[in-house]
Structure formats: structure tokens, C-alpha cells
Subunit: 125 residues, 2 copies
Amino acid sequence: MNNTTSLLIIAHGSRREQSNIEVANLVDKIRAEANEEYLSITHAFLELAEPNISDAVDVCIAKGATHILVVPYFLSAGRHVQHDIPEEVTIKQAQYPHVSLTITPHLGSVPSMVETLLSMATVQE
Amino acid sequence: MNNTTSLLIIAHGSRREQSNIEVANLVDKIRAEANEEYLSITHAFLELAEPNISDAVDVCIAKGATHILVVPYFLSAGRHVQHDIPEEVTIKQAQYPHVSLTITPHLGSVPSMVETLLSMATVQE
């Protein structure tokens, strides 16, 4: 239990609204599963959709977050993961020096991805 | 154990070679973890990189696959998942009527994604 930590999941964002809704629905499930382990669990989009990262960080801090874990919902460590998300986070960190913002490794790099993909195949057989 | 089933993981493909290598490395790990449970475990790219889906299916069948499980390594059910991958698979299915090709749900829709994202946060705290 760490009730001043917010989880902020960053997706790319799409012109196709259903893709953005898919992210929002996933984050709703994460919130239900986490069972108030975090102050807040929300999402933001890097581009093409709202809320953007800056506004979402503002909301976390308005709720009382002292620590924000930024989770890149991205499969590869491309420009968005290596440059764009860190740049946005650096700007917000400068704006809120009393809050710590941490970026986790991106989704595609987590060790459990191996098991996740194998389980996708097993279900179908 | 089903030694005539091949697993074929489909990623988008990137102009950035390191992103394609990231997929190949993940598939190497899946192959090691699966411990010869499948005839083959390989990857293909929908666009921008090689191998493409058509060639990768040919290789599975040349190795003796009678069943190919196509796993979309995609986060959202956009055009690529809903249209482009099924279209490619339909073409190959018509070419090889004696082989069954099955597309699994896409990565972003698997239930374990909730736990995966929560675990990413926990590691960082």
C-alpha cells in the first residue's frame, strides 16, 4: 500500500477512437485489479488523443501524488520510448520538483512477455 | 506436445532495425522457453521488414507444419489486426488447403495484460 503513488500508463494514441477506448478499458481493469494499491491509476496518450501526458500528470498531482510511475505501453524501444516520453516527463519533473516521476521499462521488454505470448498460443490449441 | 504445430508471431515491422531485432530476440526467448513444444517458433513482419508473412508461412510448411498459429504482436485491434493480417492469412490458407491456419486474439486483448502492467509498476517501487 503506497497511497501517494500514482500509476500513469502511456499509450501511443490513435486516430481510431476504438483503439483509444481499448486502452481506457484495459486501464479500468488494472484499476479494479490493483484494489486501491495506488492513489490513482490512469492513462495518457503521447499523441493523437486526449488526455495528453502533461495534463494527466497535473491530475495525479492535484490528487496528492508524491510519486508518479510512468508505464510506457509500447512494444519497442523506438523514438517514442527513448526520446519523446522521457522529454515530456523531464518537463513535468522540472515543473514539480517536490514530486518524483519515474519511467518504468517499456512493455515489450518485460520478462513476462515470453509467457504471455506462449499462453496466447496455448488457449487456441 | 504437438510437433506439427508452428507458432508464427506477427509484429508490425519498423524502419528502425533495432526494433525488428527486439522482436527477433523476444521470439528467441519464447523458443527457448517453449522447449520443443512446437515444430517451430518464428516471427514475421506485416510491413517494412523481412521476413514477410507469406514467406514465413512457406517456411513453416516446408518444415512439415500441419497447423500454424498466427499470434498478432499488436496492442490494439486496428486495421492491421482486423483486416491486414486476416487478409494475408486467407491468401496462404487458400494456397495450402491441407494446412490449418488460426489467428489468435491480439496481444493487447489478452487477460494477463492487466497483471503484466501491474508487475511493471511493482518492480520499480
